[in-house]
Amino acid sequence: MLNTESAATESRGNLISQKVATLPPSGIRKFFDLLSSVEDIISLGIGEPDFVTPWHIREAGTYSLEKGYTMYTSNSGILELRQELASYLDLHYGISYHPEHEILITTGSSEGLDLALRAIINPGDEVIIPDPCYVAYPADITLAGGVPILVPTNEENNFVVRATDIEARITKQTKAILSGYPANPTGAVMSQKEARAIAELAKKHDLLVISDEIYARLVYGVEHICFPSLPGMKERAILISGFSKSHAMTGWRIGYVAAERSFTQALTKIHQYTMLSASTIAQMAAIEALRNGEAEVEKMVQEYNRRRRFMVKRLNEIGLPCFEPKGAFYAFPSIKATGMSSEEFAEKLLLEEKVAVVPGTAFGACGEGFVRCCYATSLSNIEQALRRMGRFVTKSRLTA
């Protein structure tokens, strides 16, 4: 399908905007096509929870349909939901946002990210992002007319972007730092100390920080640092999050942005012309998620944690060293010992052992030598996948 798509794009070259025509397709997309040719695979390549949305939340969605909640909501979203969010953010991170002026409900956090970038970027503005990072970051920055500036991260700094490395890349054009911790694809979390150093930097150079905290609730044995809650950060940070990962609600497409009024107003301007409002059913379900979803969230986090320990231990045992990921639901083992490139490893593993992982390079050049393994799948799947991977690694050692 991809091939026909790009062929079509080429033949109508002049009609497609240059920005879009030159935008590289997602590295994951390429892998998707290969996958569909193999049957009976165990996939560790999925970036979403394996849990179905908790029943009480689904039921609330159904009920809202029955009651006829089928119209647009206000651009900002149902006030009740924004009020619930304000108390939720205050309860968990001790940060207060005004429900009427400082919170915007979006169609997933993806929309929030796009809005934030479009609202702040002037042509040529630079936005600093870690490498590797979530696939949409560089693409969204480019589409908004900005220039993504990659800051390499590596095993030594546990894949957390360092303030000193950021500072070395700050120019007159630098507008913002975009970071997302807990991180996709590495599972890395940012410590209080690291976050504060970046906060100081933002103040010193008068930069904005867009903080993508979609995985905030999925942390293990550490506390999540909500970036805007750091001293002096609320006025220069845009918080982006949603319900997809915390409440297993990916398909509902429901998220939010929280920021000071001037930012929220700017984002809402774009949102009102493009999206109008987030899905009403999803908003009603999200209210229920915030009111009564805590026990289910904790249950899922506990289950992820068990699987996480299992996967990390096994990866290290089979000779794919892996630093301890303390957030999200990804492990990011090094495959350097096999002598293969990330893409070669992922491709061969898929064809020979029918296990799907995502090559680290899909998330940036610094992902070379690593693959992303998602543990949001059943323990028996993880066990079997890791057995196959162990066999694959041993075999590749023998033939190397």
Partner: protein, 160 residues
């Protein structure tokens, strides 16, 4: 420690080695905790949930409400024991409300259950009355759902 039992309650076949990784404790400690729990009667039994109707072997089940008279000194316990010792009784509970004992009874066929009620249960001196509800369909048992169509994996095989 509680987590070990939660894991076993979900999957009785989880090995001490697997559990030790999941709860981040040494295998020996997990084995010790399990052994002790078995000894102390905290872990009573390891069982399997079987969908018998799928094998074409369906027992007959009934939920029986029993009104009983309590006895001096022992309350309901003596009569309850007298009843629950019958192998036909699968589960027995003392409940609040319009009757005292709720029991789940299992038999090979309807006849077996009705003779249990008329010959064993109803004639007991403390039993005032019984109401028998034969189960027509099992939807959910011990937290497990029956009769659901095989869940197919709806997730895309790879997503960002």
């Amino acid at each position: 420690m509680k987590e070990i039992f939660e894991i076993l309650e979900q999957n009785a076949r989880a090995t001490p080695e697997q559990i030790s990784i999941m709860v981040d404790k040494p295998v020996s400690e997990v084995e010790e905790i399990i052994k002790q729990a078995e000894k102390d009667g905290i872990i009573l039994k390891y069982r399997t949930i079987i969908d018998w109707p799928k094998l074409g072997q369906e027992d007959v089940w009934a939920l029986i409400e029993v009104r009983v008279t309590p006895q001096r000194d022992v309350g309901f316990d003596a009569i309850a024991e007298r009843i629950y010792q019958f192998p036909e009784v699968y589960s027995a509970y003392l409940v609040s409300g319009t009757y005292e004992l709720a029991m789940l009874v299992r038999g090979k066929h309807m006849q077996e259950i009705s003779s249990f009620v008329t010959e064993k249960l109803a004639p007991l001196e403390q039993v005032q009355s019984t109401v028998t509800h034969f189960l027509l369909k099992r939807y959910k048992e011990n937290g497990e759902t029956f009769h659901l169509p095989q869940e197919t994996n709806r997730r895309l095989p790879i997503t960002p």
